[in-house]
Symmetry: C2
């Protein structure tokens, strides 16, 4: 067996999974969550936070009650708003989502549930719909009762400001930020052949997300609101959202800690017109790809804005023996503090990548493994290749770092997004509450 | 349901698992790995490291080939010395263990295996035994061929220095250090009723460990050599070592990364005399407890000396529905970067402890959970208790921090040792190789 190989080595090929949004003719457009016809938004300062200049209440409302879908945290400590929203979203119909930052309404017992219910009642009255058409979400401090007073004042203010503009969408996106360094919004437009006689109808998908922020004494929370004016039925909306979340938001890790409040909502107004899209429609694949594309863009934004992050890191594990193995190995690499510190330190330390994959119990032979780091083959058949350290240092200047590992054990692959582990992460999460 | 409870609350009771070493009459003694009769050790500078003042070759030898047991890393990337030692240790008989620091002999292919075999041949010739009575272990840089030359010079030097003294044991313990800030040695003595007519025989268990160190470009490695003069048969030695490692070394986590080189060896000389101890002997429980106690002490030393650590953190999860649930939850808490940063920051952030346990898929009801932090009840039945922040800050001054979480779901418990996550950890693991 050769100990090192000096011939030219090709990079590992990463398979493309499914058709991309671009393949289906979708491209970026303005408007954020308000890009979809029939959706209005607002963000106001209601008083959950002390700083009067900081928005802390977001409202996203459909003109009429519409199709909705949602997914929630699997954390067994699950916050009051999740407990209230889960059964409501399951009905597949909603009018609006109300979200606050500054208080997570978690570990607040029955009183917390009461406040979540009461807040939705205030919104329902202001919008003229029934309570159970209102979805609620919170992020912020845990273990502190959520006050109702800010809703009394803030909800009418938000309703009066509701608008279908990019500015209104931006205000809503800002109102849910915690330690996020910027708001995270995406919107896309494309055409679906769902008009009369298969005529093209322009549809939009937009949304915002917050994460992975935290304020003391709190935990990271991912909240996401998506909207589309495509005429999805409830089943198709749910299927498309779930499929997208599974491989985008659920494949982001900043620090391996899942929040108590994670929620992703999709409102589908149908305001674009055209025939209803079901899971069996020809147009389903395209709109699902658009929803997936928006979620993937938002997911990458979360990873890139991870606490203290200087790099967006994309980990691809390919040629795994099963999907579970591919996911497990990709998360093991993405969550390895040693790998993340090495990237922070611009250290092309492939040994840590190999060790992280090797520790996690997935099936492979070390002498069948290949690793590429930033496009450079560094390991082939389990043995190191000569490495040009200067070239690696140059590549480390890029804001996005790609790791690809082939396990040589099968045909399954998985992609996970993460960030580096920095002094700033320790500072953000270690500094004593003041 | 009450939102907070102000009456006096008792701390969670943590069950004691098995009889402790002290219960069986064992207490600390001098001598480290040489405390056991029939064991000699040496540590020398052989040239694996550039610094001539740094010891880098350790030899632990029994006067005569004796019973041995060993456990090894489960990482699929497994280093050459592990591949060589595993089948040898399985025979249950060995004369010596040779360990080097400065080079892990990992990801070195067939050439690495050749060097590991050749090194053991040099030791066997110097000690006058057969090659396969020599166990080998390495720690240090990976992906670089291990030179044989340092053995040619270093082994005769180490053999000439072999001694059964505390100083010799200390030299051996120092020779395997990497980023360890100090050597880690323990030895205990006690009496077993294994002499004629049940007369008491004094036996010893000693050992050293290294971990969780790393030098660039490298991964953490845990190497441990234990010895005893108790007359264990091979089966009993293996059973006692395995049982001890399972709940001590395997329950230490600094950064969740398992090394390619982890190895723990036990040499049982029988030099104390007395009748052979099998798994069925009355004396088995006592010697197993002593081996467990030594491993636990060494495991705590590893966690306390974790890279950049300022605190030893002990996590107890009790009242879990199964052993697997207890272990999973304890590791989830111990590996949570948010929990570890909070401890570094002296932040009594029980919400992160709750979230870590909640995310990991184990079975419990959030309203059945209790948490104690540093002996102070902070959560009962899923709801926070009032907390005296000044008192918590005072308790954070201690070098050891205890976290206890009751899941209220069953009767299983698990203890894991870890450390805090600090700026220094990021510095150690992020600084570019120079």
């Amino acid at each position: 067996m050769m100990e090192t190989r000096t011939e030219a080595v090709s990079p590992i090929v990463v398979p493309q999974v499914g058709g991309s949004m671009e393949d289906h003719g979708f491209s970026p457009c303005e408007g954020g969550v308000c890009a979809a016809a029939g959706i209005k938004a607002a963000g106001v300062h209601a008083g959950f936070r002390k700083d009067p200049n900081r928005l802390d209440l977001a409202l996203v409302a459909a003109d009429e009650p519409c199709v909705c879908a949602a997914t929630f945290t699997t954390n067994r400590f699950c916050a009051a708003p999740v407990q209230v929203s889960r059964p409501r979203a399951a009905k597949g119909r909603a009018k609006a989502v109300i979200l606050n930052s500054g208080n997570a309404n978690a570990a607040t017992g029955d009183a917390g549930i009461e406040v979540a219910l009461a807040s939705s009642k205030i919104v329902a009255e202001a919008l003229g719909c029934s309570d159970d058409e209102i979805l609620v979400a919170s992020t912020g401090v845990i273990g502190v009762q959520l006050p109702l007073a800010p809703y009394t004042e803030g909800v009418p203010m938000a309703v009066s400001k509701l608008a279908g503009t990019a500015e209104a969408a931006h205000d809503a996106a800002c109102a849910v930020m915690t330690t996020d360094t910027h708001s995270k919004e995406v919107s896309v437009a494309g055409e679906l052949p769902i008009g009369e006689d298969g005529a093209a109808v322009t549809v939009h998908v937009g949304g915002f997300v917050k994460g992975s922020g935290m304020i003391q004494p709190n935990m990271a929370t991912m909240l996401c609101v998506l909207s589309t004016d495509a005429p999805l039925d409830a089943e198709a909306a749910h299927a498309a959202l779930l499929a997208a979340v599974k491989t985008t938001f659920n494949h982001v890790t900043v620090d391996s800690d899942t929040s108590t409040n994670d929620s992703a909502f999709l409102l589908a107004t149908g305001a674009a017109g055209g025939e209803t899209i079901t899971c069996d429609s020809a147009a389903y694949a395209a709109i699902a790809a658009a929803i997936h594309g928006v979620c993937e863009s938002l997911a990458r934004m979360i990873a890139a804005d991870g606490e203290g992050a200087t790099k967006l890191v994309t980990v691809d594990v390919v040629n795994a023996a099963s999907q579970e193995d591919a996911d497990t190995a990709a998360f093991a690499i993405a969550n390895s503090p040693l790998v993340k510190c090495a990237i922070f330190g611009h250290d092309a330390n492939w040994g840590r990548i190999a060790a992280a994959a090797g520790k996690c119990g997935v099936q492979f032979d070390q002498y069948a493994c290949d690793i590429d780091l930033m496009g450079v083959p560094v390991l082939r058949s389990g043995l190191p290749l000569p490495m040009d350290e200067d070239e690696m240092l140059r590549r480390f200047e890029e804001p996005a770092i790609d790791i690809v590992m082939s396990l040589g054990a099968g045909s399954f692959c998985s992609r996970v997004w993460t960030c580096d582990l920095t002094h700033e992460y320790v500072t953000i999460n270690g500094d004593y509450r003041t």
